[in-house]
């Protein structure tokens, strides 16, 4: 995979490149730090997943995880600074969807976050995004600095078809 070339954008999501690997085409976008900017990008990713018959549950899970990752990038990474951007890189294949969300912040240590399901934190009004990402994705991997997260969701319908093929030849 070649090095990403990024260009600054001002108002709307903008494609900044694509590259093909043996496991599919990566698309790259850069979005201003504005929560309202995500919908169009999300619809593009999810429509590609629909083309490969990802299940409704997969689509729900992906939307939820992308929402959470983007919200964290905008609010905690870029502190809602509209001069800063969120970089999104995604790849959808018949078997899986991978989405990378990266902000311009210094990063954080995800292991340092408290468990929001404990009684003493249950009434906190924030801090559940990463828990939900991990619950709904097959893989959630943070970069060492913590300012980038890679979300992976396998296509349950493709896996079921594969299992069916194996079972019935």
């Amino acid at each position: 995979m070649g090095r990403m070339r990024l260009e600054k954008t001002t108002a709307t999501p903008r494609s900044v490149g694509a590259s093909s690997t043996s496991r599919g085409l990566w698309c790259r976008l850069e979005i201003p730090s504005d929560l309202k900017q995500l919908e169009e990008v999300e619809e593009t990713i999810l429509s590609q997943c629909q083309r490969y018959s990802f299940t409704d549950r997969d689509l729900f899970a992906l939307k939820l995880a992308i929402d959470e990752a983007f919200a964290n990038a905008v609010k905690h990474g870029n502190h809602c600074d509209c001069d800063k951007h969120v970089r999104i890189k995604y790849r959808v294949t018949p078997r899986r969807a991978d989405v990378v969300v990266e902000d311009e912040g210094p990063g954080f240590n995800p292991a340092s976050l408290p468990d929001p399901t404990l009684d003493q934190h249950i009434e906190c009004t924030h801090g559940r995004g990463i828990l939900l990402m991990r619950a709904f994705m097959n893989n959630v991997v943070f970069s060492p600095s913590g300012n980038s997260v890679t979300l992976t969701k396998f296509n349950d319908s493709a896996r079921n078809n594969t299992e069916h093929s194996i079972a019935f030849g």
Binding site: L35, D56, F60, D67, E68, A71, T117, E123, T125
Partner: protein
């Protein structure tokens, strides 16, 4: 009385306030701050409010929406009121289960059951 705001449909039935959402994406990250402000303002004007929030037609919500619901729940309690949630899609209910907020909120399958739960004599039926 029917108050039909752009994002919320608010109906009164006796002393019960029923809140319904007018758009299926109403609880997305991009919308939740405004919804939260409206819900808190609604409760602020009530004495011992009995509030039902119906999630009928809502097919998605974010963790920020959960935070807003906690804020609303606290506001309701601070006014000696009661909050009930109902009509939650199974996928969204899973979000409540994962976060264990199904134990914090009183969640019922239908509006009817949520209404009946305000009667201290009635039997609770949590999903």
């Amino acid at each position: 009385m029917l108050q039909d705001a752009a994002r919320l449909k608010i109906t009164r039935d006796g002393d019960v306030v029923l809140v319904e959402f007018t758009h299926r994406k109403i609880l997305d990250e991009a919308n939740i701050a405004e919804i939260g402000d409206q819900l808190v303002a609604l409760v602020e004007n009530e004495h011992r409010p009995k509030v039902i929030i119906s999630f009928a037609g809502v097919d998605h919500l974010s963790s920020a929406a959960l935070g807003t619901l906690i804020t609303v729940n606290n506001k309701v309690r601070s006014h000696d009121g009661q909050l009930r949630l109902c009509n939650i899609h199974p996928q969204i209910f899973e979000v409540f289960v994962i976060t264990k907020l199904n134990k914090l909120f009183r969640i019922y399958p239908t509006i009817k059951e949520a209404k009946e739960s305000f009667d201290p004599q009635s039997k609770q039926s949590v999903i």
